[in-house]
Symmetry: C2
């Protein structure tokens, strides 16, 4: 009936996703408090900031202070996001605190990359060669491939599974040319086009070509499909997910434009617990973090299990 | 990979679920406006009130006025909920406007029925015989079997699939003894214990015994699993769902106790549209109803697609 994995690996992206989109200024100490609380839950990878232009992303104006301010917890890899060389250089200044790794990243939508980076598909691919070399020169491991808009794009429309297969082949070629070995490929549902069926189709197509490919899913919940998409991923044996505590990352109640955050971490962990899939994460502690996240941002967040509670107390 | 149906039938329960739980008094005219708007979307079955004691459920104090006030739309069956003879008699006073049909209902949890109805399992079953006879005497068709707490119970814990098979057998026996033919059996996840895997197990167990059994799912979203559970149902060929526009029915923002409404109708319709499954419902019109529902109750509701929008505008 299904190919559920025995365990999954979750990367918490709530701090980075949330703080970069929230309107109100959030005190640096509160951001640090949330990250430190998340560090105590069993999560072993937390993306805490993005090194971007604070004029464009005011919520990241204190990224340096956040990185300096956290209390690193043994066994937790703290990561940062960057979008260009300058951001990467800032991250490297914190290489004592941050687990900086490189990504070979392509967009499944040429229109999206023309719009956002002014590069067509060929230019984007060519650039990845240079990026991998710069990571290697900096002594940074290139561990991950990533495909943005893997399930559809507001500018390009639907993306066929065959195109994702072609892009993964390109990413693996780049890796091979530069003698790096990727651990996994992330499929990002950047604009929330995925359905559970699309997840199964795309992951299934990748598995036909590369039976042992380790796929990660980055699932936005803009249309309420994220948890169903995650379940479809689990049924396809997907063992890696990005997620956001409390569903941090969009703001459904503040007139943003309807984009929502990643699949909610504690809802995902609840589902895994109920399915007997190990996450290594303490659900009750995570729910406390979700409540803290609501306090920190000052408005309700979309996570369900933090409101509805777990089932543990009913099982004696 | 899956057994997705070509079409599904959705029963809208938002008005009944929502108005019975909302704290603030809602003007009768506003309730009627929402029901009338829902009538224009292609929905063909809408549960609009419950005939219950208004001392226990103040939101239903105007149930009579609501039934009298709506503008019946051709092709829409309006239904009511009742819990006892008195409620049934009230519903029958409106048999010109309401599509009153009978249900043979059991709880999967004896503790739940002891607690709520002071009846053990044997008493509950015995009572169904009398209830069917009273429906027949009143000229009301008995069309449905229903099992409450089919996936787990806060008082009893997990419910094994084999127990649901036994209860369906009991329901079918009652129907046979009284020469009524049920159209379908509803499995209600009353306390939101279901996971997609549990949906597949239980529906699968029923299908093994009765390959053509028409199963309906009534899925509460208290732990954020409803849409994933609905998808699991679709993969098992389930063709009937109850749902609530905008996710009406619980109130995640008002300090209730964490219970949430049914799976959100427009999110479910969006998913079906994306999967190529016919619903007969106009998604854009339904989204307008979801926005109206938020206005009517005066606070945000949990539906996603009404905030995130559909994908239609991006496909040219």
């Amino acid at each position: 009936m299904s190919d559920l994995p025995k365990s999954v690996h979750i990367t918490e992206e709530g701090p980075r996703e949330g703080f970069q989109i929230e309107k109100g200024p959030i005190a640096t100490a509160r951001k640090i408090a949330l990250i430190d609380a998340l560090s105590q839950t069993g999560l072993d990878r937390i993306q805490i900031v993005s090194f971007v232009n604070p004029k464009a992303v005011p919520g990241m104006v204190d990224a340096d202070e956040v990185v300096r301010g956290i209390t690193p917890h043994a066994g937790v890899a703290y990561t940062a996001l960057w979008l260009n060389t300058k951001g990467f250089e800032r991250a490297m200044e914190f290489s004592d605190r941050l687990a900086n790794t490189g990504t070979i990243q392509l967009s499944a939508s040429e229109k999206f990359s023309l719009r956002n980076q002014n590069r067509n598909a060929a230019q984007q691919l060519a650039e990845q060669h240079a990026i991998v070399e710069s990571y290697k020169a900096a002594g940074v491991a290139v561990e991950r491939g990533s495909i943005m808009a893997a399930f559809g794009c507001n500018f390009e429309g639907d993306i066929p599974a065959s195109h994702i297969v072609a892009l993964v082949a390109q990413i693996l070629d780049v890796a091979r040319e530069h003698s790096v070995t990727l651990k996994y490929i992330t499929l990002a549902d950047t604009m929330a086009w995925a359905t559970p069926l699309a997840i199964k189709r795309v992951v299934g197509s990748l598995r036909e070509r590369w039976p042992k490919l380790d796929v990660a899913l980055h699932l936005h919940d803009t249309r309420g499909m994220a948890i169903a998409n995650a379940y479809a991923g689990l049924e396809m044996g997907v063992m890696r997910f990005d997620s956001s505590v409390a569903g941090l990352g969009g703001c459904p109640f503040a007139g943003h434009q309807g984009a929502a955050g990643n699949v909610c971490t504690e809802d995902l962990v609840f589902m895994c617990d109920e399915l007997g899939i190990e996450t290594g994460i303490e659900l009750d502690a995570l729910i406390e973090c979700a409540r803290l996240a609501e306090e920190v941002v000052g408005h309700p967040l979309p996570g369900s299990v933090m409101k509805g509670g777990t089932l543990k107390r009913f099982r004696k």
